[in-house]
Amino acid sequence: MASQAASKAIQFAYNGTIASTLRKFAWTNLWGGREYGLQFHDTYFEPAPEVTEALRRLNLKEPHVFDQRKIRLSRAHTLALHGEKLPKAEWTQWDQESWYLKPYLDEIEKEKKARAETSGLIPPYEMKQH
């Protein structure tokens, strides 16, 4: 149905009619990235270690998607710098939205769970000294 995730591979915790309708409503009206041509995961809180790691893995596994993200962010920052927004026709559409970080974030959560259940060892990406 129209408000389900555009990419069939992405599954959220709640995927029913109400949840997906709410999701679409929130994405359209309560989030400000559309007018800058961004996708939702472009504006995810990057300093969080899980997101940092997910972005690193995205770069390693799907560098093209990572580059497109960089281009979108660069364009959005230039617009914001000049106090401009895109014309309404060029705003991000619902079917263009892909939650590209979701698979990586899910995997990281699974790893954290597996770590907690097994050894409790700190994962390599958190051991690195930045």
């Binding site: 790691e53 893995r57 790893e111 597996a114 770590r115 050894s119 390599p124």
Partner: protein
Amino acid sequence: MRASLASKSAAALKTQSHVAPLKTKLKNGLSVVAQDNNGAVSQLILAFRAGSRYQSVTQQGLVHHIRNFVGRDVQSYPGLQLVWSSAASGGQLNSFASRDVFGVQMSVPRDKADYALSILGQVAAQPAFKPWEMEDDVLPTIHADLAQKTARAVVFEDIHRAAFRNDSLGFSLYSSKDQIGAFKSEELQEFARKHFVSGNGVLVGVNVDSGTLQQYGEENGAIRDGIAVMNHGAYFRGGDHRRFARGDDVHIMIAGAGAPVGDVKSLAAQHVLLAHIGQSSPLNSRILGSSSSSEIDAFGASYDGSGLIGAYLHTSGAKAESAVKKTVEALRAAKIQNLEECKRRAINEIHFTRESSLLSGYEHATNALYKGPDASELLAEIQKVDQSAVDRFVKNAFERLAISAYGNHSTVPYSDEI
């Protein structure tokens, strides 16, 4: 005294009751070998025809990366979970690779064998080769492996380069330093897709119920269907390969054409010859004299289609030339005075190997994949070896030589000078 020993050993021969391994080939192409020694620890091996000889010229070092990736994430499960649950069942997981074979081996108490089999299938046949694991986890282990190489390992890899030259059998089991990290995840996955398939593999279980093994081989979803991969073949050419290193001493390996895995008669002659020129034989003291600050021992390696047999020397640079010349002389003129004693020693070695479930598991894996002879077949053939067979073998083996040297090799002669 000798007569009574002989009669006792004859009695021992008669009473040995090694159960023959049960070999089957399933519909999906997977070979299954089961041997039950009624031991308490099961040895499980899932191996494929995916050794370093199956690398292409640009892929040298790929199998080293794949070998170090075992235990990391697989397609459907996190690696930590698999390794941890195998450890929780009392299992130990190892990956191994030779030039012909790549595989994963698990030792586990007998009552956990079916659970361990499911882990083994995933770990061996479904690696995910995730790019972030390559960077974080695998590349440091490859650096560590290279740092731990012994000098003997270096000359052993080099002797293959010398003997087999451009053939893929000459490729090293180790990745070279500048090839570390040169392989992308996609290349590793492509290799796995081609090689880790049922028609290309063997499932070996020692001290496991054969019904369990066959059921797992048929019903598991881990090993994809596929056909066996053929290798290009190789034959012994002979030559030299040298590495310089500072220092006074030099490590040398001298090899001739050995017996291939499939040729049982040559293998039998090779075993007898190795028993003659092996570590505890007169060859040692005759070559190096009583004041030996050097070491020498024999080695043999059998691969699909070719093999190597020879000796390893570790000596000082000054004595290298004479040591090599004397070794080659002794190898080429190997006159076995006491053939029966050498045959007895060769047979004993095979018996000792059969006693270890782990070693016999590895033997079963290689023999199943490359149509090698069973231990009982080999023993029977060794009994039949006579002087002329050994002489023929020696003549063919050491006609051309391969020599590899590491260290102060300036006086080591070249193979065509001897």
